[in-house]
Symmetry: C2
Subunit: 378 residues, 2 copies
């Protein structure tokens, strides 16, 4: 995270602070914390039995941010002038009984007192704030007030800073590697799961570490349902394979989808593939600053007919965020927004969905996923 | 889940209800919900942007349980007489703006009213209960009272029912497959990550689906640190490989650890391996109903000297739960408790840890992980 980029996020937060008369923010969601501080918690193995929360970020615009993390988490503060004061709390010690809730609350109360917030108006995220934390604050400081800022934060996160676009591009690079691996390894006779293992292996080898990942990887009639987890189903010759790969690299997500055929496509399959590819190209070409999200959605449906899911969505520290490319979304696109576009056609027998990830630019948009949508195996 | 087994859990919950004067339980943690209802949410891709919570379980002992889940989750109620009323809430519809928080709360309030709990004393889990849910209940029903039952639930979950032991055994079976794969595939020259891909692939092929998994997979000097995620580090000839595999199958965890050598072991390595193996055998043989957890811990440290982590821990719907095999834990072991035992020796240059998962029986204990701890490659 560069200092300039971070200053831009901070400035936006400051305008939210001023317009809502907020003194401080108490952030508890992983995605908001990543966005503002750079701290990423790998969620792949579920909530830790040794933590109240992986992290809480207390932000008073103008002051150094205060990041309270469990002492079994690691965090290296950026070395670019961004000031973060890290307060670790005792999470697990095998010699003594667990006490992480109190240990966390002690650190939090110390931070609230130090920052003189005992009568403040504090912006919170009402879904990720645990009851025990809220209750403890309310009891101790009856004059402190909570204001939910979930929607406002979501709106602030829509336009990405250059460092965020860089991080998302790197995650998109893992999508490219995954989609290339699908074309390289897919062969009739293997199961969806076997293909998935090879694809994820390629992605993790490229990343040099484990990568949390959502993935639709389905073949044959399952493609008509639009997706699903890889199963023991064997890929038969001539069947389609739909691969929607959504990896998370250091807290930022990529997104991509391709549909291929394990053998010779029928004419109708080939025509459908080309139709969906055109719809995606139309969407890409329709993007420019000022166009409404719903207009991009309409363009895709206009070309291929209606389909039973969104036309796309924002991508950042959440894999599906604002703006949504859906029939109701009046949001005007702005440079820096990162959007996944994913038109699809689902017939009785099969489905084809193609997806690219793009960033809105002054001139239109730039495609972040660089793989090409290829229908037939290499 | 069999009806008898479930009745046993319900009965224990009822005794908690009576001793604490509680009218109902509002369960929000994934592990307590799995334990009581069988509903499992796969956490591998983090919190869903379309849900307030994956599930909430409202339990009035004597009544059918009420499970509120997002409508993009699937749940098949057991067909054994266990009555669960499922209330789905609207999570994501691409034609209309997101409204899951309200949709969830509408269902919850309807359930509270139907069950006449507006003035009840309700047992909650204070860490996993979101502020927005608590606030909404408190505002609407000022006479309703919350009582945190987190510790009591943890205690109730310690003794496993036969259906739970069966589920944990199946997860332990995946550990066996993983440990066998380590011995089969490990070879000098490959990276920790490449080995991990092959091992997880074997586990997922056996399970027929993706399996969430914690894993230490480290070689050489990293084994002296006790663990860590698989990295790009290449396994060199003669280095040790420590593999702690902790897969989650349908909401229940397995746990296992082996340490092997990629080549010929030195005499000192072989001696250390045998010493740790003896410590594990001593621990297994020390287990019987009535023995204190700390006594098992003491036996291991007595044989191999002190080591910088617990001697073991309970395993169930959490990978690390009560009772803990640690110096302070006075809990007396009871038949049905499932415990991972994991003594280790960490020298300057390398570390060796060996782990088995056992269930306490009337006569002593039965080992659920069936692989044998083998030091040298096949």
């Amino acid at each position: 995270m560069s200092f300039t980029d971070h200053a831009s996020r901070f400035k936006r937060l400051q305008s939210l602070q001023e317009s809502n008369g907020i003194d401080a923010f108490l952030l508890t969601s992983a995605h908001a914390i990543k966005w503002l501080s750079g701290f990423f918690y790998n969620f792949e193995t579920g909530p830790s039995p040794f933590q109240l929360l992986p992290a809480v970020l207390l932000v008073v615009p103008g002051d150094p941010m205060c990041l309270i993390i469990a002492d079994n988490e690691s965090f290296t503060a950026p070395t670019n002038g961004l000031e973060i004061s890290v307060k670790p709390y005792v999470s697990y010690v095998h010699e003594k009984p667990l006490d992480f809730t109190s240990q966390f609350l002690i650190q939090l109360h110390e931070a609230i007192t130090q920052k003189k917030l005992t009568r403040a108006r504090i912006g919170i995220e009402k879904v990720s704030l645990p009851f025990v934390v809220a209750q403890s604050i309310i009891l101790r400081y009856p004059e402190l007030e909570f204001v939910d800022v979930t929607l406002e934060l979501s709106s602030l996160r829509m336009v990405k800073d250059p460092d965020e676009i860089d991080l998302i591009s790197k995650a998109a690079g893992l999508c490219d590697i995954g989609q290339e691996a699908v074309l390289k390894y897919a062969v009739a006779g293997m199961t969806e799961l076997e293909l998935f293992t090879l694809v994820r292996g390629s992605i993790e080898t490229a990343a040099g570490k484990r990568i949390p990942m959502m993935a639709d990887m389905v073949c044959g009639s399952r493609t008509a349902e639009g997706g699903g987890n890889p199963s023991e189903k064997k890929i038969k010759h001539g069947e389609l394979i739909l691969s929607d790969l959504t990896p998370c690299l250091n807290g930022y997500w990529g997104d991509s989808c391709n549909t291929i055929v394990a053998g010779e496509p029928t004419k109708s399959q080939k025509d459908t593939f080309n139709l969906v590819k055109e719809a995606l190209e139309i969407a890409v070409n329709s993007i420019h600053p000022g166009v409404k999200a719903l207009e991009i959605d309409r363009q895709m449906r206009g070309h291929i007919g209606n389909f039973p899911h969104h036309g796309g969505h924002g991508v950042g520290t959440i894999y599906h965020e604002d703006p949504r490319i859906v029939p109701y979304c009046e949001t005007e696109l702005l440079p820096g927004m990162v959007i996944a576009l994913e038109p699809g056609v689902y017939n009785d027998g099969y489905g084809i969905r193609l997806e690219h990830l793009v960033v809105v630019t002054q001139a239109g948009c730039r495609i972040l996923t660089r793989f090409s949508h290829q229908f037939e195996l290499i």
